[in-house]
């Protein structure tokens, strides 16, 4: 069990770092926001692995869900005013 968990943890860690890298490197803000949301999503799975189901729920709902939408709403407003 522990090997499997460990493997899962390492895989999640690597995906998070990769997603974070994408978020920082990409030129498109939309992709950056989505990648950041992905980081959050991976993190919430990681929290389950770390035996923290409460945190996992919260991170999934708030970190990856609501935050991403907040970004899109703001970007939508900005786009409507003809900036980007």
């Amino acid at each position: 069990m522990s090997v499997l968990m460990l493997g899962l943890a390492i895989a999640l860690a690597l995906s998070m770092v990769a997603a974070a890298a994408v978020a920082l490197i990409t030129r498109s803000t939309v992709i950056a926001v989505l990648a950041a949301g992905l980081v959050s999503l991976f993190a919430s799975i990681f929290f389950v692995v770390l035996a923290a189901p409460d945190v996992a729920m919260t991170e999934a709902a708030i970190g990856s869900g609501l935050t991403t939408f907040l970004f899109f709403f703001t970007m939508g407003r900005i786009r409507r005013e003809g900036g980007k």
């Binding site: 974070a20 609501l66 005013e81």
Partner: protein, 118 residues
């Protein structure tokens, strides 16, 4: 396990900080900060983790009498819950500010908002 989580968390924090301090686009700065926030949350949870134990919920699997030996530290989890919500609050606020700043100058480049200085 805890070390992996810690290392991941710290890498995310550093990456987030790097992004926030080098990217001139205000929205991208905020994105970078959310990544750093996620990193902080991972670090917090990792510190509460004890190898081989279960979630701090007392049910049939974890009777009250054995709780002390079976569960992981619940305190960091409680803190993270609070931290996540606070992080969201600040992110939302920064986004609202970003929009206002955009309205002001029709630009999202932080280096254009420098009329206050010296």
């Amino acid at each position: 396990m805890a070390q992996i989580a810690l290392a991941t968390g710290f890498v995310l924090i550093l990456a987030g900080l790097y992004g926030a301090l080098t990217n001139r686009d205000i929205l991208r700065m905020i994105v970078a900060f959310t990544i750093a926030d996620t990193g902080v949350n991972i670090v917090l949870v990792a510190v509460g983790y004890l190898p081989g134990r279960t979630a701090p919920i007392l049910d049939a699997a974890v009777p009250v009498a054995e709780a002390g030996q079976r569960i992981i530290d619940p305190v960091p989890q409680a803190l993270v819950l609070t931290a996540i919500v606070i992080g969201l609050g600040i992110t939302a606020l920064m986004l609202a500010y970003a929009y206002r700043l955009f309205r002001l100058r029709h630009s999202l480049d932080i280096s254009t908002f420098t009329e206050l200085k010296w």
